[in-house]
Amino acid sequence: MADTIQPITMPKWGMTMTEGRLASWLVQEGQQISQGQEFVEVETEKITNVVESLVSGNIRKIIVPEGATAPVGALLAVVAEPTVPDSEIEQFINSYADRAGKSDDETEGQAAPRVVAAGPHSLNILSIGDGDGQPAILVHGFGGDIGTWLFTQDALAQNRKVHIVDLPAHGGSAPSLEKGSVEELAAALLMAMDALSVEKAHLVGHSMGGAVALSLAQSAPGRVASLALIAPAGIGPEISSEYIEGFLNADRRKPMKDVLARLFASSEAMSAGMVENVLRFKRLDGVPEALGAIAANIAEQGKQKIDLKPALEGAGVPALVIWGEQDAVIPSSQATGLPAGVQVEIISNAGHMPMMEASSTVNRLLSSHLASADAK
């Protein structure tokens, strides 16, 4: 291991990423890094993501400078022990271009989301991964889509099938709701499980998606292997009406940017592409009305209209609750006083989107939660 040279390459998150902009290096040439250390920031279509190193060693050479854009898989830097001579490092870099070309073929074969008929709904679902673990289903929040899980999905799909679902009236799924209630969304998710022939799954839900997961656990307890709830709705009274109203009313970039900034502890990390994607979704015929109906079912004047705490108490499956301490949409104080046995993790430098702002930490928590739930 000591004399091996290890490449650090541009990561790929989600299907559509073909290149990334290197926002900043958190280390310098000659510096020692260890596995798990945050060492580089990469700008994506959503936010600027801090990347943890997969390897340990000495940063011998930085190839892509700050501010530059590089294709997925491109060599960003080279790690090796100081004993490796410079000539070998140079040789490695020179020969890397040939090898990098091969990884492009892999990405072309990557799974794309497809539309699955689930009762009256046509749901856009991305299915990735395979393995012995029980399948996991990832459920985004109000106004979100499968892109919510950009930094999460690959980590969870290492040893299991992961289905990433667009709820009705979200992302690529049609606005097929009658009432827009959480129960109706949970019923749609259950129909999706049937359509996917998933008998039992781990449910990972964010915000409103957490409430949907809880509702499903209540109505079809036998179908849920475990619950992982990130800043979930439905277990406490408060919710930001500024966020919900603002999201419903914003139809232009500037107001939408201000609204979406509330999601993050550090809103500078948010990219213009994220705002544009949300606007494109909200411009579709039928979507503003459907979102309005859903919002009216969830909250009124800063108070939640749904109470799913009994569902969490009665779930009888392993449950993990993750909250960003600086959450400005649903306060993290709601994570206190949860039923005994529920694992609670508060992440200090994150807002309402910890799976984006602290993706490595959240991925570690989710992975070990799923592994221990599988073992039960």
Binding site: G172, R252, R253, K254, E276, R280, R283, L284, D285
Partner: protein, 337 residues
């Protein structure tokens, strides 16, 4: 969601809006016919194929072919709009609108104002514009500044398939007269376009790229040239913002001024002739409202003050290109350093 051409995106918007609202009609020269129509009509669907298939889907009462009589059918469409329909008139080349100025400037643009807000004129006029197709002086102009000058008209110049569909849908649903101008060279460009209907609000610029060194503002096809220039400049370490205002009336001044204030260095790319053009107009707005933030003179890259030449080499020299845009941005970037 799927990849569609600019032409398909427009065709889809027309199909979906005609299906949604029975008041929507299309009228113009050679616009009937298209796939599924019988006999000779099958060959048509508009001079550029944008209205293909509408006749078969909606019938001759709503898809009206006219003689070569722009002044007559534009006037008929304006009248139909004033009396309850939502007509979409197609003029093959914007250059021909000279013969219908009264219908547009003095009638359609004035009804809402002169009738105290009681009259609406939901009239869309689609036309092609732009040089680069060897079509000579009378079929190549970029006349959007003339319409932008007239209060009461909305003027739309989509630069991508996504924008083309969303802006045409908004134009048809809008209660004011809209001049909707399509650059001929963009019809076969492709991009992601949602399958269902959607609207893009007027007066909302698109920011295609964000950079802190230079702001490039471009209209219509010039947006693509600006992006080519910005990508080339990025390799030199000059990071540009590229703004497509999408509509010249209303104009998203806020987005333009905000970026100008951030970078202090501005290039405006306009295919129109320079006198009283969009480059001149936007330049004056920035000079007036963001003067203190400017670190360099505002650079304009436009066509020269001449008719569009027919000779290929002269036509190429007439049109702004990425090389000229990059040179202007470089000059703005280095000015005063």
């Amino acid at each position: 969601m799927s990849v569609k051409s600019y032409r398909q995106a427009l065709n889809e918007a027309l199909h979906q809006e005609m299906a949604r609202d029975p008041h929507v009609i299309v009228i113009g020269e050679d616009i009937a016919g298209g796939a599924g129509a019988s006999g000779q009509q099958d060959a048509w669907g508009g001079a550029f194929g944008v209205t293909k298939g509408l006749l078969g889907a909606f019938g001759p009462a709503r898809v009206r072919d006219t003689p070569i009589s722009e002044s007559a059918f534009v006037g008929a469409a304006v009248g139909a709009a004033a009396t309850g329909l939502r007509p979409v008139a197609e003029i093959m080349f914007v250059d021909f609108l000279g013969v219908c100025f009264d219908q547009i400037f003095n009638q359609a643009a004035k009804f809402r104002y002169m009738f105290g807000g009681k009259a609406v004129t939901p009239f869309v006029l689609r036309a092609t514009f732009g040089a680069g197709t060897r079509s000579a002086s009378q079929h190549s102009q970029a006349l959007y500044p003339i319409f932008t000058h007239i209060p009461g008209l909305k003027v739309v110049i989509p630069s991508s398939p996504y924008d083309a569909k969303g802006l045409l849908t908004q134009a048809i649903r809008d209660n004011d007269p809209v001049i909707f101008l399509e650059n001929k060279l963009l019809y076969d460009t492709v991009g992601e376009v949602p399958d269902g209907p959607y609207v893009i609000p007027f007066g909302e610029a698109n920011i295609l790229r964000e950079g802190s060194d230079v702001t490039i503002i471009a209209f219509g096809r010039m947006v693509h040239i600006a992006m080519d220039a910005a990508n080339a400049l990025a390799k030199e370490g000059i990071d540009c913002t590229v703004i497509d205002p999408r509509t010249t009336s209303p104009l998203d001044e806020d987005t333009i001024l905000e970026s100008a204030e951030e970078t202090g260095r501005v290039v405006i790319v306009d295919e129109a002739n320079p006198r009283c053009g969009m480059a001149a107009d936007v330049s004056s707005i920035i000079a007036e409202k963001a003067f203190g933030a400017l670190k360099a003179p505002i650079m304009k890259v436009t066509a020269p003050h001449t008719p569009v030449p027919y000779a290929p080499n002269l036509e190429a020299a007439y049109l702004p290109d990425a090389t000229r845009v990059a040179a202007a941005a470089r000059a703005a970037f280095t000015y005063g350093k």
